[in-house]
Homo-oligomer: 379 residues x 4
């Protein structure tokens, strides 16, 4: 695994737990890679990795490594993933797949070439593995919503409302690619397209950076050392991105990603209206899926507690009503990845799926830069 | 009162109740006007009007009429309102103020001229009089939300999801002006601007008509008589209208009005995020306002049951927890109107406020027609 | 109508509105009776009554009175109701029917005798007329819940949590009979029995008076004039009453009525579990009924917005999603009463139903006084 | 660890995860004990235990075992725990502590004796370690609720509503001690007393067994082999247990535990009303605590998402809004246990706390057997 910050920690939990819950081989947690020898060793000890490397290139050379899990910021994804695939390692890569469409295209090409050699790759859109979201997809696929008319998706957070919050790497375009758009907007784009089974075809967008300068962050960026003494740096990414648009098949989209929704902590919300029914979901209550079936008498949105044994992923865990948490989406993710490797099939979401999301992100940025002009998502 | 359909019925309830609850003079319910003598007489009897006229021009000539309440479709608002004001009658007019900006401008001019003579006018955006919405405005005005960053408003209904629902007047452009946009979109535009205390300055929009033809409706339109035998007519208004945009002061807007949100019956929903707090409201639970105060420890969205004696309008009604319903918004509306007349002041929302909403509607239509180009709201 | 306080006000709203909404004859609001000539005249003017009397005995002698509506405290119900029935007036009487079982028995006997003469009577348990509660009863009657196992009912208020709240008549046993038990406990007993269609057969109970002395209230009791200067009087009723028990047919009951549930304003809550489904209701969201149908796949409690035209009482009002409020339960009550009079049938709940509730209240008090011993409800 | 069924699985998850998240020594998962050699070996492999024993007596003799985790049915707790403590092993024991007060007393005596030797013991009431419940206790301790007046607790499940559900060990008195009462009633008794910081002093109770006979279960009881062919056996425990009662300090209690609440999957619900505020919690939404602060203007129950870094246990996990699940309560439990061992202090809840809960259970059974007579909880 490359990287041991937030994503590295939660991925480690997943690798550690997966074989105790699902019927997959127990993965050996071989090597953790990070730039600082000392801090990487400390993290490996805490998180349960057997060895450490300070250069990811050494990690992908090792014979005891079959899978490379990329948990670094987006600017390094392409280089690491392409090298790992070339070295014959299966790759699971955090989202967004890359910081640009060009990088994502290169990665997708590498993934296709590797797949021909039996080397698998997956982009880690973990929210697909929320049981309620997997159930939502099942409902749409079964036709229980009829023809889809509206997809309303929001990803609302509030962790940078305070203008004194520092200029961490996620607020720097060179590291993160974009702001709320790529970080959390990417999730709702992928999740919505996953549930509906269709892609966005065009968008009209607005983006905004509410707080344009922030205190330099200590230790979290290349800016470190320049800072101190209350110096500020420019925020080079969006704080919020909104777009409306159209899906294949004619459904209307209304999307919003923001880090300025005071009081919303991790509100990935999706509401879908079809001719026969509707769905509603909010990750802040992740074990619930709300479903409206227009065919029933005395209809109403019903709160399906997605903890039954016949719900996706859930049967392997606890009895009904004993809910899951955020980390379990990653357990499901690596379980599906391990199963695909064992079965010799290509897991989803593929790098190509990640590329498609990247193209939507690019269309949003292009539209926002061009007076909100309606912009097609390029194939 | 002119008109006795849905709006006429609920306005009648308001005129009948207002003086028993609020300290205003009891209005005499003098004359009801409608085209059909028989049906108007029947409605007058049921709703409690003392006399009837079959021509609204006669109604506004009568000496026993001081107030004219216009509850007709939008295409007749301008003519009736201007004539009534000219005749020295105070006018309360249903929304949207008119079907075009030009009509609304003429009405606004007439209202200003009448106001100089002490004749009052008001446009009936009743949702301003929901206690929870009036309380929301109070919170914003008091600064409890800080600087406003996001305004997210939706008006979701589902009454025409069925493609066999007939082509009633609300689905005809010549009668209704527009579809979901003017009917319910107008409400969220006014309500949001009312709460925030600032206006929308520009929008980028999409509109859609999902069901393009519908069975001709019997008795409800000029098309009657041509129909029967399963004939269909063209739907000439939007089924759904979405736009994103900007408010004065920089807040971002995300708005959606639709009649195709299966399972949402009258979901006028508004969520506002500010630097110090947030608000959330859904008319389907109209006695509740959700408020997040970022300053408090262990903060969370709290469900304020807006039924306390110090909440707007509520003190005159029942004890805490004994909620109000839809019709009471109209009681509050006529109470405020009667108080303004008695006090010799101009009530709000004024025709000018109605005109401003009309200009937003026009900008939405213009943007949607021009490839979603960002379109400024004209002054 | 006798009495013009809270109940008098809301009953007046009902009499005024009923004929505009439902197809019943418009009742003439003839005479209001109260002890103080001046204040009764003022109330009659505000509430729309044509005449006043200062002695209820004069009111029931009048020829222009066909219906007597009793909105006084419980200690006067028996005398007024029995006299009015004897005088051939139809009687609607506020709940609880009386302050003792003996009074209630006498009233019931009088009602039976009067019914033989075509004179009708009803006890005003208005919550039966909440559309959601009437729908709940329909669900149970249709067998959609299967065999009932649990009935969990709470009526939670908080208006006397403050120990400085004064000693109003509702806190005096001689006026009110009991405290939370008779005032709001009576409502959940009636409502639960109404929905389930079966009666409570026995209970084991606890009651408590948390604040045993309170400031004397000015103008609200016979204690007035003795008070002032911070004097206090004894609270002679319960602040809270809890009981568990059994229904006919074997369902278990858990009931609680309290005025000390801080933050709960008028939370009449009922949850019913049957072998095939469950229901849940809270008056603080009175337009919603939650229903769980165990037979459906991906089951969940669904929020039925009880505003559809095929829901009880609702068709006469507004379109779906345009909710009703507290006062409308009274409109439904007088509508049913007027219809029964017109049809020559006995309306429900009858005085006998009120007597049965009184017997449950008596059993609760008896059990609480006897070390919570299980106490049968006497027939 | 002794036992590898539901509790054994979730405890294994906890032992595996604890050191990666909290700053405690990584526990070596040494030995799993179970009666069947084959099935125990299989479970040990899946769950990550290094060795197996088929006799728990051998397990407690082993030198490589410092901690014994008892996950068996209640009838074996006393023997195993007392032996393990005698052997100098720290003991964590599943709840209820025992099947009888006498057993619990013996265990408590053994625990006290062991504590004098530095050997620690804890009863595994895991719900104390739900962050929201730990936060609730903090609120009460800080006085934010004022004087407590009402404690309303329910534990509602529905897994045996179907009369064809078989006669598993949890439905047999000799194995389980009691039914809903000891299984889930014990949890709400402990949780409520934990939050309030005071004990129940007396109760009046009802219990019921709705389905008195069930099909014999294969493989799950001593009855196995007698069964087959549709034979049935008697249910010897309660399906539901209800009681009302009093706490030290005068608060009123209303408690209910049932396995017949159709649609409620794991609804451990607690509502507490104090003179200054109220709390409400439902485990089906375990990351939320609802808090009402009567002192604030425009008060309302607020939904505190208990995922902030200053909330109990939460700081070690993920960012705000990224919720935890059921299993994490066990991680917190073993973390506290390991910390107490390391610090040389006695962890809570102690066996004595478990004994007190056992005495409440006994009082409930005694009251229910004696016509619901009010029964004191013995010291």
């Amino acid at each position: 695994m490359v990287g041991y910050a937030f994503m590295g920690r939660v991925h480690s939990q997943a690798w550690r737990s997966v074989a105790a819950v699902f019927d997959v081989p127990r993965p050996a947690m071989a090597v953790l890679s990070g730039r600082s020898a000392e801090r990487t060793a400390e993290a490996a000890d805490t998180l349960g990795w057997a060895a450490v490397e300070t250069d990811w290139k050494r990690l992908i050379e090792r014979d005891d490594v079959q899978i490379v899990d990329i948990c670094t910021p987006g600017d390094s994804h392409a280089e690491i993933a392409i090298a790992a695939l070339a070295a014959g390692k299966h790759v699971i890569c955090e989202k967004p797949l890359a910081n640009t469409v060009a990088e994502a295209e290169a990665m997708t090409a590498a993934a296709k070439e590797a797949a021909a050699r039996g080397v698998r790759s997956m982009v880690a859109f973990n929210y697909r593995r929320v049981p309620a979201i997997a159930l939502a997809r099942r409902f749409v696929a079964e036709g229980r919503l009829g023809e889809i008319r509206h997809v309303r998706a929001q990803y609302l957070q509030d962790w940078i409302v305070d203008p004194e919050f520092p200029l961490v790497w996620r607020l720097q375009k060179d590291k993160a690619g974009s702001g709320a758009l790529g970080d959390i907007g990417a999730h709702i784009i992928d999740t919505a397209q996953f549930i509906v089974g269709r892609n966005l075809t065009g968008v009209t967008a607005l983006t905004e950076t509410f707080v344009k300068e922030r205190p330099l962050a200590e230790g979290s960026s290349g800016l470190v050392g320049q800072g101190g003494g209350g110096e500020k740096g420019e925020v080079t990414v969006d704080d919020a991105a909104l777009f409306i648009g159209r899906f294949e098949g004619g459904a209307l989209a209304s999307f919003e990603a923001t880090r300025f929704a005071t009081g919303r902590k991790n509100a990935l919300r999706i509401e879908i209206n079809g001719s026969a029914g509707s769905l509603s979901f909010d990750f802040e209550a992740m074990n619930e899926l709300w479903f409206y079936d227009a065919a029933e008498s005395d209809a109403g949105f019903r709160r399906v507690l997605v903890t039954e044994s016949d719900h996706p992923y859930v049967g392997a865990w606890w009895p009904p009503g004993h809910g899951l948490g955020y980390e379990h989406t990653f357990v499901h993710e690596v379980k599906d990845f391990l199963e695909a490797i064992a079965a010799g099939t290509d897991p989803t979401p593929s790098f190509e799926d990640g590329l498609q999301v990247q193209r939507v992100l690019a269309a949003v940025e292009e539209s926002a830069a061009a007076g909100s002009r309606f912009t097609s998502v390029e194939d």
